[in-house]
Symmetry: C2
Subunit: 201 residues, 2 copies
């Protein structure tokens, strides 16, 4: 290793480089920025990182990220607990919440079925959906996986395998969403349209 680089600098550059979208150059930039910035910028970040790991868990009902279990959405009596929206990621929940058009609850899969990446149904929170629907007197399941190949395959799996014998109404977001895109980047209006135009499977 280069003598001119102290070990703490190297280590932080390496730690930053492990983040997605951060290359060695950006990692150096961030590190040297923090060296000059007031102490609390680095220390606040360090505390927030520890806090994230120490104080968050997955909701035992919807599997979204939460501090309290069950999460505020699942324990909110003002929300429609008989409509479940199935999403891939916690970020998708945020996107839907931003529209203000949805008053039901969620089910976060934490991924999609993707044989290419070695992700099968059992790597996701898929099997949990069936018992939840049967037990909870659910009226409708809205499938809001991304409009991609994997999202479609996951949607089909949910309909045919997971919810087959439950008799629940299964819908999915309208194809107002451009195919191949990502739900979390959709604007609120498009997302609202897609929600309003959802079609029965």
């Amino acid at each position: 290793m280069n003598k001119a680089i102290p070990e703490p600098v190297t280590k932080l550059v390496e730690a930053f480089s492990r983040l997605p979208g951060v290359g060695p150059k950006s990692a150096s930039r961030l590190t040297y920025f923090l060296l000059r910035a007031p102490d609390d910028v680095a220390l606040t970040l360090a505390d927030a990182l520890r806090d994230l790991k120490a104080n968050t868990r997955f909701c035992s009902v919807c599997h979204n990220i939460t501090v309290d279990d069950p999460c505020p959405v699942c324990s909110d009596s003002m929300r429609d607990q008989r409509t479940i929206m199935v999403v891939e990621e916690p970020l998708d929940v945020l996107a839907i919440e931003r529209t203000g058009s949805y008053k039901g609850v969620y089910h976060v899969l934490h991924g999609v079925i993707s044989p290419v990446n070695g992700v099968g149904p059992d790597d996701l929170k898929l099997r949990e959906l069936g018992p939840r629907v049967e037990k909870g007197d659910i009226l409708e399941v809205i499938i809001a996986t991304n409009p991609s190949y994997e999202g479609d395959a996951t949607c089909m799996f949910i309909e045919r395998e997971v919810l087959r014998n439950t008799g629940v109404k299964v819908t999915r977001l309208a194809r107002g969403l451009p195919v191949g895109s990502d739900i979390e980047y959709a604007d609120a209006v498009t997302l609202t349209r897609a929600l309003q135009g959802r079609s029965t499977l």
Copy 2:
């Protein structure tokens, strides 16, 4: 704040957003990546951040970032301690070291004179250079500020104000560097050329 976002998540997104080049979208991406990644990715980063602030200081001789004071370069008897290269930032030291063409020592200013940004000579490690040159039996000072307006102004200030009465030979990197660019992004060959073609002021 949105009920669907737990506080530790919001806090980490905010902490990431304070870093240069990280917007709210990237900050969310990084946060949700860390939620799913193994614990040690976030914890290693947290430790590295604390370590950076706890275990680094500025070398009392050259003002570069270091664990030990004086730094390994300043205390290396194999290096030419009678040639000083003046650079703006620690990242510039790394760029010069990568060329392998320089065997002297450094003087890190930690910025450039920039009236627009309210940075004057006393905000930098500029005044320290004069006594260091007088005391240290220095043969040559190579000014390696960026080839920009502020870099040129700082170079001129060093020559006319700081080193005026020292009688030391003052040189600067050749204008092989494209004007307006940044030293830390120059490739090693260009930087070597600029070092070889340095001109007497």
